[in-house]
């Protein structure tokens, strides 16, 4: 970890990642595939974290997704050149993305290969923390991670109120993304055609991923039962469990607990706010 850095929750996983990134930066002897795998892990972790946020940062998500794509492409090219590849595509384990607090990171040492790096492989069997954090991830899973997060963003944006746009004039809107170079598009098509089933199963709302009952288990709803309850709708943000530290807020709880909302007497200012939205003033 660099210098004084940012204040962070101390969890084993995070400390591990900090050590790894320091190792990445300081060590010149780290073999390239290992470095690449490390970066890939970090990217996927971040994407997974963002997926759990109510509103992921689009700029960052795109940058990270591009990095993943780049690594993916590189690995794909390598695997197409050499039939047996150590660090790529061996998805013998079911995928487990390291959550922020999940203690178990799947361990998988690359087992023998014809790669020139095989010498390095055996030499780093002694470097405990680095090899223990290798995560075997398949292409499909990477692509699905990217697609699901971008899909999530699209889903969220589509339900927004229509923006007030005047007709944009004579020029028809360009159907293609003008910024994307044609040759890259073709490469990505290969990556994204695996999205098929993943798009459906990786639901566009994180609500479906979590057991709804679990969310409400720890929340004290006694305040909702009383008459005076306008404030708690927003105030009940204390995250009862570790995973919920990553969630910015519990808006889903508010919107799902419709019965609770009906019990509460909404604040006048909130009504005004709603009216403003409806009337569009």
């Amino acid at each position: 970890m660099l210098g004084k850095g940012l204040k962070r929750k101390l969890s084993d996983y995070e400390e591990n990642m900090a050590d790894l990134s320091s190792a990445f930066d300081s060590s010149r002897n780290l073999p390239y595939p290992l470095k690449r795998q490390l970066v890939l892990n970090m990217c996927l972790t971040k994407l997974q974290t963002y997926k759990m946020l109510v509103e992921p940062n689009l700029h960052r998500s795109v940058l990270i997704a591009n990095t993943v794509r780049q690594i993916q492409e590189e690995m794909r090219q390598e695997s197409s050149q050499q039939p047996i590849n150590v660090c790529n595509g061996i998805a013998s384990h079911s995928l487990s993305y390291p959550g922020i607090d999940s203690p178990g990171i799947s361990l998988h040492l690359p087992s023998g290969s014809n790669q020139p790096e095989s010498n390095c492989c055996s030499s780093w069997s002694g470097e405990g923390p680095i090899e223990n954090s290798l995560l075997m991830v398949s292409d499909d899973d990477m692509s699905s991670a990217i697609s699901s997060i971008l899909k999530d963003l699209d889903f969220m944006e589509d339900i927004s109120p229509p923006s007030c746009l005047a007709p944009a004039g004579d020029e028809p809107k360009l159907p293609e993304n003008a910024c994307l170079k044609p040759e890259v598009r073709q490469d990505l098509k290969g990556a994204e055609c695996v999205f098929g089933s993943f798009e459906i199963s990786n639901s566009t709302s994180y609500l479906k991923d979590l057991a709804i009952d679990d969310i409400f288990e720890d929340i004290d709803t006694s305040m909702y039962d009383s008459d005076f309850c306008s404030a708690p709708l927003m105030a009940s943000r204390t995250p009862p469990t570790a995973t919920e530290e990553t969630l910015k807020t519990f808006p889903s709880c508010n919107s799902s607990s419709t019965t609770n909302i009906q019990i509460c007497r909404p604040d006048l200012s909130e009504l005004d706010h709603i009216m403003e939205i409806l009337v569009g003033s």
Binding site: I71, C164, L174, S255, G280
Partner: protein, 451 residues
């Protein structure tokens, strides 16, 4: 006024410091934008709590030599409040992302302030006189008994204590689905644009229920998204030209005369990647965090994670100048990626004569590059190192090898102390530096002594 820029080395000294000491910081006080107005008389800051504070420079007076040119608080107001988007179950932050001043057209000042979603036009007026001597009301405003009124008088304007009134004149809402990252007032003084991650809208300052979409890079399929808009600005003189920067490090100059929808750029400014510097993080560090036209309109200044670059509008293939802000971080990119510092968005600024450029860095350092002499300097904005009126000592970061006294090693840098927002007075050597919740105003020593 001031020493000739670029001809002599400028000595900077702390002029004033506003803001609480570090241990009292609340997140809402963190300054999120700084902007001088067109004359430099006013300086506006926005913070994470949605407040705007405007400072006004005291006019010079021979009677009190030390309070000349001091920026005093002129007005404070709550610009944006946190909002809750009920449709998406999202909270919209009240943090002020950008403030832009409108050129002054009458006695009032106007500025635009924006958070992630809504842009507001504020009018700032002064009241230093009030009418006295009404016929029908008395001094407290109560109606007079008409039988006591025996003669008519003309109300007279009498001086009163200065009152600064700020009123919201326009609210430009619902124009953006994504987060607004920049706003820019057109030189025609009638329109302005606002840019979010994927779209740029053109507004008329007087019309709030309608905006024109002039750039849209949202792909039909979001999965195809690989690039977002990071900053945009109108050309200072040509009201039809604007530039926007992208997360891939490119700049697009667009001409609104060419078509209504400016998805096709007129010019694309892009530097091919240096293969020797290639890393996993190359794209991330190439993302442009800020773009500013020079005052002359001939050049553009861009900031990406490690460099600032000067581009000539006539040359699209590469920048004409590249300055390393903190190249020693190049070997730390993985750690900076891990702790998200690699996504920090630093701003950049030109001085009044376009001869010096400035940008912030970590550890409360900020850097200045003189384009003519090619000299650069690293200065620090911190209470410990800035005594009022004392000249700022240049700082140095050592990367191993010989270490001089007072050097800081790369590993000792504090990455939580970042100078993201800086502003330069439009004509004089006065700079405003935002360090977390503190606003530092530095002046050129010669400049301040001449008054």
């Amino acid at each position: 006024v001031g020493c000739p820029l670029g001809e002599e080395a400028v000595d900077w000294c702390l002029y004033q410091l506003n803001g609480a000491a570090q241990f009292e910081v609340s997140e809402a006080d963190i300054i999120s934008t700084v902007e001088f107005n067109h004359t430099g008389e006013l300086l506006a800051t926005g913070d994470k709590g949605g407040r705007v504070v405007i400072f006004q420079r005291e006019p010079e007076s021979k009677n009190e030599p030390y309070s000349q040119g001091e920026y005093n608080v002129y007005s404070t107001f709550q610009s944006h409040e946190p909002e809750f988007d009920y449709l998406k179950s999202l909270e919209i932050e009240e943090k002020i992302n950008k403030i832009k001043w409108l050129p002054q057209q009458n006695a009032a000042h106007s500025l635009l302030s924006t958070n992630d979603k809504t842009i507001k036009l504020w009018k700032i007026t002064e009241r230093d006189k009030r009418p006295e001597g009404y016929n029908l009301k008395d001094e407290e405003g109560k109606l007079k008994d008409l039988s006591t009124v025996t003669s008519l008088q003309v109300p007279v304007l009498k001086p009163m204590d200065l009152m600064v009134e700020v009123t919201p004149r326009r609210i430009f809402a619902n124009g953006h689905t994504y987060h607004v990252n920049s706003i820019s007032v057109n030189s025609d003084c009638e329109t302005y644009m606002s840019a979010d991650d994927l779209r740029i809208n053109l507004w008329h300052l007087a019309i709030t229920d309608r905006s024109f979409n002039i750039v849209d890079i949202k792909p039909a399929n979001m999965e195809d998204l690989t690039e977002v808009i990071t900053a945009s600005e109108f050309h200072p003189h040509h009201c039809n030209l604007f530039v926007y920067s992208s997360s891939k490090g490119s700049l697009r100059l667009c001409d609104m005369r060419a078509s209504a929808l400016c998805d096709k750029h007129s010019k694309l400014f892009e530097e091919p990647e240096d293969p020797s510097n290639r890393s996993f993080f190359s794209e991330i560090i190439s993302s442009v965090s800020d773009v500013k036209f020079s005052h002359s309109g001939r050049y553009m200044l861009t900031r990406d994670y490690l460099t600032v670059k000067v581009w000539d509008l006539n040359m699209e293939t590469k920048p004409i100048e590249t300055y390393q802000v903190h190249d020693y971080l190049r070997s730390k990119l993985c750690s900076l990626y891990e702790n998200d510092c690699i996504f920090d968005k630093f701003e950049c600024a030109w001085n009044g004569s376009d001869s010096v450029i400035m940008t912030g860095a970590y550890n409360n350092f900020f850097r200045m590059f003189d384009r003519n002499t090619k000299r650069d300097v690293t200065l620090e904005a911190s209470r410990e190192s800035s005594k009022p009126r004392a000249i700022l000592k240049p700082r140095r970061v050592c990367v191993g090898g010989k270490r001089r006294k007072d050097d800081i090693s790369v590993d000792s840098l504090d990455f939580t102390k970042k100078i993201l927002h800086t502003a330069w007075h439009p004509t004089e050597n006065i700079i405003a530096i935002a360090a977390t919740n503190n606003l530092y105003i530095f002046q050129d020593k010669v400049n301040s002594e001449m008054h």
